[in-house]
Symmetry: C2
Subunit: 334 residues, 2 copies
DNA sequence: GCCAACGTCTGCAACGATGTATGGCAGGAA
DNA sequence: TTCCTGCCATACATCGTTGCAGACGTTGGC
């Protein structure tokens, strides 16, 4: 049986509540008393029972993180940073993989997962704003990503449109005119895919290049789909001189397929991505991409969520934070 | 205020304990009573309070996973699978990143992290078996990886030596004679690095090739180190016709450096890795590597740990499980 | 010299569930 | 009738902590 506060209290010759007060940094305790208690704690090797504390206080000091799949490099890197940022502030992160399944997303909002955490970092991929609003409890929620732009919710995101436009402009400046886009429907205009596609179209417009829907290949954002999409375009006889993968793994999958088929990158086809995962720098050729300020996203979303949890004023209405970005020009599209 | 068991009991006209019994599948409950309770639960939207349940029962239904860094692709993919395997059995996984810092590893074994979980999956990188034994509580612990081979602990691992030997033999069969190894000290013989290096040496011996310590470059297992190690060898005038990165990111970093410097892979230098991360298949050229049976590792380690937690006989002494492996021959070393 | 204010500490009652022990009731055996 | 057994439900204590209200002794103002 573990050492309890009662044992400590007995050893220090004070009441149970005084031990609790010492542990919770209650203001009015005589230094001598405090020391006696601390000594007793050290001597007995007492450790607070977090479960009991949670039951009584209603706080778990855990944050929930809902994302589709931790094995996707972007999410893995993001999760790693979020966990470190949370850890610095005395919180842990509990991860839930939704696999982009609506039911799982809904359950994360109200089920046991919610109960275990003081607040949620949520990357909705399937459900919409109203569904979220319906099951929104009292606990804070911060949305990540950009599937949902709704004034009711805090949101931390990146400058998708602007970054995609800059990247596209860079490709155009390199003389590319037929830039294929992998990972969006031609008419898409919301969500990460839509916003990035909008940026692409905006850059085309500004350069006086006509948008060509035949160059836009929709698919889920996975490496193998990037390869398959390029294969589809080529087999369909679509010609292009650049590929913009809406995220890095799509771009890398696409690049792989191009190289296999004997295209030279970037001479024949330039390739660019989005996310700047660690792998992008070391791909061959290294991948031109957008670094979306992941560290800033991690730091600010954790900060915002914890501010909400601890009741600090962080603005009364929903915050909408956009991290800065950087174009990373590398070999695949110099 | 949330709905409690008491509310349900009142609504159903039974005692608190009867509700608890229904929830815990107690055998002797009249179907009619059971139904009344279940209806009341549904009507009130009752959800069990997990914190209270944990306090009373001493179980959290969470498993701890300690690894160095979730952003490393191998760990990210492993964590993702472990979480899914745990989820299927009604458990969650709480991840702790040690950054290969000894103090963090020690704290994971006995601190609050341990308290929050019913059992631990632990990848020790720094601390040794005795340090673990010293702070081993009553809760089950399963070691992952192979830094520690000790009859006191359950261990789930892979066939490092055998797989490395097969891979090396494959390189030798392709006519390579000067195979550089990235990620180990020449004298290392324990841990993942040591075991894989042993396999390498064994294959050399069997082929009658002399081991050359100058070909062995030690470094931490990160992508940039793989590149730096190859650069170091080349700048130091060491000649080689193949590189064996002791994991995939090292191999990919190395390959990147080789390609930058104008070597052709595999014509001038063959490259091989270990882990078969998703990226390996889509690298250019695609990476020859060892698939270490990650799915089996995830499934069996979760199974073993939960068996221990739930007190099922899984053999009285420590289990020692080795997953099977597969050689994946791809373009980088055909 | 009295009362209010202050600083310091304490006791009790929760938080919401589960384990143990036990209480009824029905039906069959003695 | 009486006792026992099997089924079903209950009461009470308990897990280890924190919130609330208040007790106690000291100090300072008037």
């Amino acid at each position: 049986m573990a050492v309890t506060m009662n044992d400590v209290a007995r050893a220090a010759g004070v009441s149970l509540k005084t031990v609790s007060n010492v542990l919770n940094d209650y203001e009015f305790i005589r230094p001598a008393t405090k020391k006696r208690v601390q000594d007793a704690i050290a001597e007995l090797g007492y450790e607070a029972n977090l479960t009991a504390r949670s039951l009584r206080s209603g706080k778990t000091r855990m944050l929930g993180l809902v994302l589709s799949d931790l094995s996707a490099p972007y999410y893995a890197e993001l999760a790693s940073r979020l966990m470190k940022a949370a850890s610095r502030r005395g919180y842990r992160v509990l991860v839930e993989q939704s696999d982009a399944v609506g039911e799982v997303e809904l359950n994360a909002l109200q089920g046991p997962f919610r109960q275990l955490t003081d607040g949620l970092l949520f990357t909705p991929l399937v459900i919409d704003a109203d569904a979220i609003a319906d099951r929104l409890g009292k606990k804070p929620l911060v949305l990540l990503g950009e599937h949902i732009l709704d004034p009711r919710f805090d949101l931390v995101t990146m400058k998708n449109g602007e970054a995609a436009a800059d990247l596209t402009a860079h490709l155009l400046a390199g003389g590319r005119r037929r830039i294929a886009v992998i990972g969006a429907h031609p008419e898409e205009s919301a969500g990460s895919a839509g916003l990035r596609l909008n940026g692409y179209r905006k850059a085309l417009d500004e350069a006086g290049v006509t948008f060509n829907p035949e160059l836009i290949a929709p698919c889920e954002w996975r490496r193998d789909n990037g390869a398959a999409a390029v294969a589809g375009l080529l087999d369909g006889g679509v010609e292009f001189d650049a590929v913009f993968g809406l995220n890095d793994v799509l771009a890398l999958g696409a690049m792989h397929e191009l190289l296999i088929r004997g295209f030279r990158v970037p001479q024949d086809v330039a390739v660019a991505g989005f996310d700047d995962i660690d792998e992008a720098r070391f791909a061959s050729p290294s991948l031109t991409t957008v670094s979306p300020g992941m560290e800033e996203i991690a730091e600010r979303s954790i900060g915002l969520l914890i501010d909400r949890i601890e009741g600090r004023e962080a603005g009364d209405q929903a915050a909408h934070i956009e991290a800065g970005f950087q174009l990373k020009v590398r070999e695949s599209a110099p």
